[in-house]
Symmetry: C2
Subunit: 398 residues, 2 copies
């Protein structure tokens, strides 16, 4: 059976390895350390850095395809691998848009896809500052400042309160290697994610559009499908994601994060060209998980059925607590299973740090169960796993 | 997180490793070779033999529990490990009944559970031969001869056509290390399997009772739940399995294979104290798979929800063909996925040999879909993976 290499040893690689096992394969991972989530569980680990071309070449040797659990690999290395004949999936020509928010905004605009107003703050600092001031004034300072590269889970995004704060952020962050851009703050009803996958053959497949709930700038909860979403809007989101994947030549899973505005319009927020937090629900809630689908796509297998397996599935992230609970993860899992025998827990083998994603819980709703009820159970389970506290105050000793 | 060791590197260990990953763990496997199905995919492999106590001790070091993917470990070694303080699960006092069909029959009889008539053919060969003749005459030679130890997938079981054949088998097999027994051939409607799990705490959980379809003495297809099974009979089968697991002190998953007789009675056929082929459907068709449940049980976690996730799930084994098909496994999978995007394929990373179990396919029925339709799809998929031939004669080039 073929070998696929994934660059990065994080939880996305860990869960992709689970899917690889079913397909008769073993995922090879390039990991920084043997303690990385995927390196803990795969029999085929190359230790090294995604910044070192030699390490990338070692990891790619003999593999039928090379793919990614993050966007951090330098573009020039990807191009060098492609020149070597490595099947880089998604290819560098697509991945550059996931690495560079400004390129992505420009490309989306060119394609006529809806994006927020934005301003390029790259280049000479003094003139970029002038452009920020002009953009801020034009948007009543309802703006967000973003690092063009390298941000994730709320890092590299500054929600500023007005002109002074915006300029403070600009002055503190600009110059050096950091390139900034500004965006109009979108007045939105909620955030959505349209996940699709695309194979080199050109086949595309879309999962149901989900609602994502962010806390502290990172995904906390996913409701699948997005409750009460107008079917026409859902289909539009899927079509936008499928079209973009096709236009950019994406291979693998792709998440298009969207804002749903108060008047039901869609605006593209972010793109990820890999399995994504907003697709974790598919592990238990869809016929084909995003991890299996990502592998099928990078292998150019026909894609799997993306149907939901239940009316409602809710995913809640397990985040590290500010202070480690008195109970070990193992003990917390024991108590969770005692109380919620249907909770599907996925732990990543990571040490706990405040707000770090260390696992997630999926709750697949029972027939007819309301999304609010399923969500309450998922959040209760995840909060328990984070804090060893039941959100409903339950105490078995009462 | 705790480490569980599984003795044996076969497909059951491979699939248990998949479940371990979700629980934040990595399954340690004692495997004979790095090419064993589980050794191909786990980061924690001890190479060695399950017949060597030193290897077993090496594999057990630091693990919170030791469990099994087969029944082949010598009982004296298990007792030595228990004397070392290793948590052997299931414990030797239970596992001996899964290792020895005669002990098992005797114990089941003592417990008043329904078993076929049987005769002990151990001890002095001449007197055992006399006992076989007496047993055969009393049962009109409707008998089966079985090796008391070591049989699986039809090996060690002889369906004999009459007195002469029975005595031929006896004369050829008896003596040496092989101990035999004879059993009455049960006139049955079909075979069932009642799978349960039990934790050291004493919690028990039963999956829906399934129908198993045997070919050439090994499991070929599993229909979950068993179609048109009288609910009272189903519950009786579950209660029998739960009671037996409790009486024997089983820890982990246990399969009780049963005959349903023409008049709706149940007779116990075989026992397995581990994940079992008749439980593979749970990977896609139940809230908790048998592999996760087995781990939960050996870790003494509370057990998971055993509910079916659909009205019907059908599992079909992928067996090696007599002659290797012209198409590689990889190509076969490609074509399967093109035709059946909802087929859930689980390949074991094993070389193909005639009738060897190299994978399985689960088809989860759509709401309202008839079991015969789901079965046809599962068998079509598995036969394709075995032979690169569509059972319905489909040809994309027609």
């Amino acid at each position: 059976m073929p070998t696929v290499t994934m660059i990065g040893g994080g939880q996305l690689a860990r869960m992709t390895h689970q899917a690889a096992i079913a397909l008769g394969q073993c995922l090879r991972v390039l990991a920084a350390s043997p303690g990385d989530p995927a390196a803990q569980v795969s029999a085929d680990v190359v230790l090294g850095s995604h910044d070192e071309l030699d390490d990338l070449r070692t990891a790619a040797a003999g593999a039928v395809a090379l793919t990614f659990d993050h966007e951090g690999v330098p573009l020039e290395h990807l191009r060098a691998l492609e020149a070597d004949g490595v099947a880089v999936r998604p290819p560098s020509k697509a991945l550059r848009f996931a690495q560079d928010k400004l390129d992505m905004r420009n490309r989306l605009s060119d394609l006529g896809l809806p994006v927020p107003e934005y301003a390029d703050l790259s280049g000479d600092v003094a003139s970029a500052r002038e452009r920020l001031i002009a953009f801020g004034e034009a948007n009543r300072w309802d703006v967000v400042i973003k690092a063009v590269r390298g941000g994730y889970d709320g890092r590299g995004v500054w929600l500023v309160g007005g002109r002074d704060e915006a300029l403070d952020v600009f002055d503190a962050q600009s110059g050096g290697d950091t390139v900034l851009m500004a965006e109009q703050k979108v007045t939105m009803r909620r955030e959505l994610s349209a996940m699709v996958a695309r194979s080199p053959y050109g086949q595309g497949a879309a999962w149901p559009v989900v609602e994502t709930v962010q806390r502290n700038g990172q995904c906390a909860v996913v409701l699948a499908p997005a409750p009460d979403l107008d079917p026409e809007v859902a289909e539009r989101a899927q079509q936008m994601a499928l079209r973009l994947a096709d236009e950019l030549g994406v291979v693998g899973a792709m998440a298009m994060e969207l804002f749903e505005t108060a008047d039901g319009e869609l605006v593209v927020n972010e793109l990820a060209m890999r399995p994504h937090n907003s697709g974790h629900w598919t592990m238990d809630g869809a016929v084909t998980s995003q991890f299996e689908q990502h592998l099928r796509a990078v292998l150019d297998y026909p894609l799997g059925d993306t149907s939901a397996r239940a009316e409602v599935t809710v995913m809640a992230n397990v985040l590290g607590a500010e202070r480690a609970p008195a109970m070990s993860v193992d003990e917390r899992m024991h108590h969770l299973f005692a109380r919620m025998p249907d909770a599907k827990v996925h732990m990543y083998g990571k040490g706990e740090r405040a707000d770090r994603k260390v696992g997630h819980v999926n709750i697949v709703g029972r027939p007819g169960e309301d999304v609010a009820v399923v969500r309450e159970r998922a959040e209760r389970a995840a909060h328990w796993m984070s804090h060893a506290v039941w959100t409903d105050g339950w105490n078995p000793h009462d």
